[in-house]
């Protein structure tokens, strides 16, 4: 099967946290801006759970603009006139990088035979890409949400690979509430009769209903209550009265259904299982625990020489400010140069993707400084 995305095949098998090894790993990526002669102007942008490498270019499936076009481009805060910006699809995903929908060595899709991966495994894949591109130390690694987890993980595990680490609306560990919401999504997928233990690729009948429910539940966590109330309130959808039935009477129901069904056209249900699992397993302090002791997050960053910047949003209840502060305190304890600001924005967790001019100023100032 030919891959329609731009990819690199890693020359070496990728060792995984599970103890398994993934061979023949493909990493799909896009780049923007020109790499300078000494390869010192590269910025790696890491995408979130359902994101992909189409950072600042049209998405080939949806035809929509890149997911961070407001941030990345000529003259924008991540300025492609200055920087060579790289964005890669994480392993486990479904936009060209090796994931559960990819073919295993036996020629059939992996499905649930794909090994369970972690955020650190995703980062190993990204570092493999950087090696392949001949890039030693990044000018910066940048990410929001799960992308921020990758940025922090790269800083902790590959401390010499990035001079600056910008982690937005993220956390160093998944909380019980984070895990709980993901479990709802996974159970929705696995309860769909079309899921068939993940072996659904042959006949094109995928567990879309389950995946849509998973997306709907998750989407609520990306928005603030204030934002939902302002956008939808209790307004009805294209009708003047309640129907006393179970159609999407309310605008908010219609919106969520639209989000759910749109998502199934571009995302693989098994990828959703694997990536949410990776996020749930994420706990940088635990990764760096010595002996049987509970890990200290500061120890994870002890070897880092990078400058850090963390940004949270006051309306984000998925990865609230306290989680960023937790990381900041650990970085203070490790003696790392760190900036942190909680920005005010009404959009909840999704604020990092939306129009927040203060974020633009912080991103530009940190990257150019």
């Amino acid at each position: 099967m030919s891959n329609p995305h731009r990819t690199i095949t890693l020359p070496d098998p990728l060792p995984l946290d599970s103890g398994q090894v993934l061979a023949g790993v493909e990493i799909a990526y896009e780049t923007y801006g020109t790499l300078n002669a000494d390869k010192s102007n590269a910025i790696l942008v890491c995408h979130a759970l359902t994101g992909d490498q189409y950072l600042a270019s049209t998405h080939p499936i949806t035809g929509k603009p890149g997911w961070w076009e407001r941030m990345v481009g000529p003259g924008l805060p991540i300025d492609t006139d200055r920087y060579h910006v790289i964005c890669a699809n994480v392993i486990g995903s479904c936009m060209g990088s090796t994931g559960p929908a990819s073919l295993a060595p036996d020629g059939a899709p992996y499905g649930m035979r794909f090994p369970v991966i972690t955020i650190r495994d995703m980062v190993r894949g990204l570092v493999g890409l950087l090696d392949g591109l001949g890039i030693g130390t990044l000018h910066a690694v940048v990410g929001g949400s799960m992308g921020g987890m990758q940025a922090l993980s790269l800083a902790a595990n590959f401390p010499d690979r990035a001079a600056r680490v910008l982690a937005i609306a993220t956390t160093a560990r998944h909380s019980a509430q984070n895990i709980a919401f993901h479990e709802v999504g996974r159970q929705a997928i696995m309860a769909d009769p079309d899921w068939r233990e993940g072996d659904y690729y042959a006949d094109g009948k995928a567990p879309d209903a389950g995946l849509a429910v998973a997306r709907m539940a998750a989407h609520i966590t990306y928005l603030s209550e204030e934002g939902l109330t302002e956008k939808f309130g209790r307004r009805l959808q294209d009708r003047s009265e309640k129907t006393f039935g179970f159609d999407a009477d309310f605008q908010v129901e219609s919106y969520l259904r639209y989000q759910g069904s749109g998502f199934t056209r571009r995302f693989d249900a098994n990828s959703y299982l694997y990536i949410t699992r990776a996020m749930d397993y994420f706990d940088i302090a635990e990764e760096h625990a010595k002996d049987a002791n509970e890990g200290k997050l500061a120890d994870a960053f002890a070897g880092s020489r990078a400058r850090f910047c963390l940004v949270s949003f006051d309306s984000d209840w998925l990865y609230p400010t306290a989680e960023s502060r937790h990381v900041v305190h650990a970085l203070n304890a490790a003696g790392a140069p760190v900036s942190f600001v909680e920005l005010s924005a009404p959009f909840g967790h999704d604020s990092f993707l939306l129009d927040v001019p203060a974020l633009d100023r912080v991103v530009k100032g940190f990257l150019d400084g």
């Binding site: 400058r307 910047c309 502060r325 900041v328 305190h329 203070n332 304890a333 003696g335 140069p337 760190v338 900036s339 942190f340 600001v341 909680e342 920005l343 005010s344 203060a358 100023r361 912080v362 530009k364 100032g365 940190f366 150019d368 400084g369």
Partner: protein, 198 residues
Amino acid sequence: MAELRPDLRTILARIEPGSRALDVGCGDGVLMAALRDRSQVDARGIEIDGACVERCVAQGLSVVQGDADRDLAFYPDGAFDYAILSQTLQTAARPDHMLAELLRVGRRAFVSFPNFAYWRMRWALVSRGRMPVTRHLPVSWYETANIHHVTVKDFEELAASLGIAIENRWFFTREREISGSGANWRAEYALFEVSRAG
């Protein structure tokens, strides 16, 4: 480069190039930027006001939004050569704890504060019988962040009782440095360089 306030100019001149400094309550980062640009100091800041932090980060400064009363605790002992607390001591929940913390994370500290025993203050209190509102303390008593008014003498006594050594002292009135004689009357604000005694 914008003109620095005289106390900040003094601090800038006293801090050794290439050293590490923590500016507690760094505001817009004007001192941090000067330390970085003129003295290659590894300067870090704490500032409670988000808009100020944003302006600092936009200048490439390493500033953490936080509350010094709470967040200094997360810095390890001796992490800095200098801790700086300019015009902020009087806003601390416990200035005595704050001083101790400054000299835990820093080898030395610079502390400046408005002198409540400045003669204009005394005169305003005596003549009008009201809490003074002056150029240097411009906010009414009920909305001021300055919850612990302090005088030069008070500070010197506190330092002695905490076993803190006063290395240097400077006094300022109307943005000019003045001599130390009668400072508790004459100084609008004071700057002390302190260290752990012993």
